[in-house]
């Protein structure tokens, strides 16, 4: 509900504390304030005034300069030192001869001055002015509270959506057939435009994909979640094999291109879609605009898989190719989103492919540690700042016969 400056705020009259050691002056000021519709509280010295201001949450303090104990300056300074969430407007009463004291008083935190003797017209003008300012502040505070509440609600909704998104992902560690999968998934801001999955799609075939919707945030996450729901093992089975039962991941990608392309939109995504033949280790894949995955042997030698391909849903004329490679026992395939290589340091330098491969080479003998090591390296590279883009690291480790899963 938006608040405007003209919205009235229903608040009781502001509380005013009158501090003066002279009982007559106090009574005079209180009488004037009562006529203006305020409810004044009297204090006979600075310390009593400070207590009253604190206890009552008073918004206006009318104080004499000369008082025993805490004088006007000290009282103003003490009020200012209280870190309350509301402002106390301080008006100091001085005699004509004390005009030199005013600069000091301003520094102590006094807002306005009145000369003795107090007259009704000038007190009225000053109190009304203070009242205007304070009500304006209260309006802003109320507006701030409404905004903070709305922000909290939105963030709670986003976190709930992010939890739902995370629940769609496969377990960070899982074994499918003779492969161990390890993964990291980090949204740049609560929700992610990335999505991935892996599953046994047919006897002897493991299917997997990683998707990165262009851009990031809520908008990108809506599409990534829609894709996550669509791309089930069953969908893979129906779309990623041809009539003879041979793997055809490009057919699946082409179907997605047709389904999600829109002439009037630039929303698109990149994808790596793979099918691994268990017996032979043959990897059938379609690379659709995604970074080329990296294969690592147990000795740490890396090689790039694929050299590119059209992204999905960007162009209706795009064609998609099936490619083949080999992932032998003991080899590991690392699929990732560009949030890894494009992550920038404080000086704006990209993490880059060389550093990315460096991390892989170091972790080659323990592929299960790759996602964690990569996140660590990127966090160091970013000096602890959150990533600018969503990150996915999906590691497919083809374990050797009778071999234990590396951790």
């Amino acid at each position: 509900m938006p608040l405007t400056m003209t919205d009235p705020i229903l608040v009781p009259p502001l509380k005013v504390v009158v501090a003066d050691d002279d009982a007559l002056q106090r009574a005079h000021a209180s009488a004037l304030l009562r006529k203006l519709g305020y409810d004044p509280y009297e204090a006979e010295d600075g310390a009593a005034a400070l207590d009253l201001v604190r206890q009552l949450g008073a918004r206006i303090l009318l104080c004499d300069l000369n008082m025993p104990g805490l004088d006007g300056h000290e009282l103003a300074r003490s009020v200012r030192e209280d870190k309350t969430d509301h402002y106390v407007h301080i008006i100091m009463v001085t005699s004509q001869s004390q005009s030199a004291e005013r600069e000091r008083a301003l520094e102590a935190g006094v807002d306005d001055f009145m000369a003795k003797p107090l007259d009704r017209a000038s007190l009225t003008a000053r109190i009304r002015s203070a009242d205007r300012l304070l009500r304006h502040e209260m309006l802003l505070a109320e507006r701030n509270r409404v905004l903070a509440e709305a922000k909290e609600q939105i963030e709670a909704d986003l976190r709930a959506a992010a939890n739902a998104q995370r629940r769609m992902l496969p377990a960070p560690e899982a074994r499918v057939g003779d492969c161990s999968f390890h993964s990291a998934f980090m949204p740049s801001n609560i929700l992610s435009g990335d999505m991935f999955a892996y599953y046994q799609v047919a006897p002897g075939y493991i299917g997997f994909y990683a998707i990165d919707v262009a851009g990031h945030g809520v908008h990108a996450s809506l599409l990534s979640v829609a894709l996550g729901h669509l791309l089930t093992a069953e969908y893979f089975r129906r779309r990623a094999f041809d009539d003879t039962g041979a793997p055809n991941p490009a057919a699946l990608v082409a179907t997605l291109n047709e389904r999600f392309f829109r002439q009037d939109s630039t929303e698109y995504f990149t994808m790596f879609c793979g099918i691994l033949e268990q017996k032979s280790g043959r990897l059938h894949y379609c690379q659709a605009g995604a970074p080329s995955p990296v294969a690592i042997g147990p000795t740490g030698v890396t090689r790039q898989i694929g050299d590119g391909g059209f992204p999905v849903a960007l162009l209706d004329m795009a064609t998609f190719e099936n490619r083949c490679d080999q992932l032998d026992s003991g080899e590991t395939l690392v699929v990732y989103s560009d949030g890894a290589t494009e992550a920038e340091s404080l000086t704006g330098e990209a993490f880059g492919e060389a550093r990315f491969r460096g991390v892989l080479e170091e972790a080659a003998t323990r592929p299960g540690t790759i996602p964690g090591k990569m996140v660590e390296a990127l966090t160091r590279w970013r000096n602890g700042r959150t990533l600018q883009d969503d990150l996915t690291i999906l590691v497919c480790e083809r374990t050797q016969q009778n071999d234990q899963v590396s951790r």
Binding site: Q263, T266, G289, G308, P311, L314, D338, A350
Partner: protein, 115 residues
């Protein structure tokens, strides 16, 4: 933000994004600015990326969005691709979608000859 050199008479022009990074942060405003030029009558455009050293997926989306909008009524080519940007164009096959020239001048000449 964009810089434009050209005149409406022949509908030819060179656009510089006016930034060294075409990313999610500015891709939409870049696209909207260039769409303004297209609507004002520039139908054959060189997008000169010689001062751009990074284009992300949103930047690619903006370039293709322009291409979609101009359709068969005009042409968009690119020039001055750095190694980094070339690599992005290769991996996303944009090198098959956009004709690319070493310099904006060469691109402009080619557009004139094609006319």
């Amino acid at each position: 933000m964009i810089k434009f050199h050209g005149d409406a008479a022949d509908g030819l022009g060179i656009v510089e994004p006016g930034t060294d990074r075409l990313t999610a942060a500015n891709a939409t405003s870049f696209k909207d600015d260039v769409l303004g030029l297209i609507e004002a009558g520039t139908s054959r455009l060189v997008i000169d990326l010689s001062k751009v050293d990074f284009v992300d997926s949103s930047g690619i989306g903006a370039l293709v969005g322009l291409l979609k909008r101009i359709g068969h009524r005009g042409e968009i080519v690119v020039s001055g691709l750095s190694d980094n940007v070339s690599q992005m164009f290769r991996i996303t096959r944009m090198d098959r979608v956009f004709s690319s020239y070493d310099t904006a001048e060469a691109a402009l000449r080619a557009l004139r000859e094609n006319a």
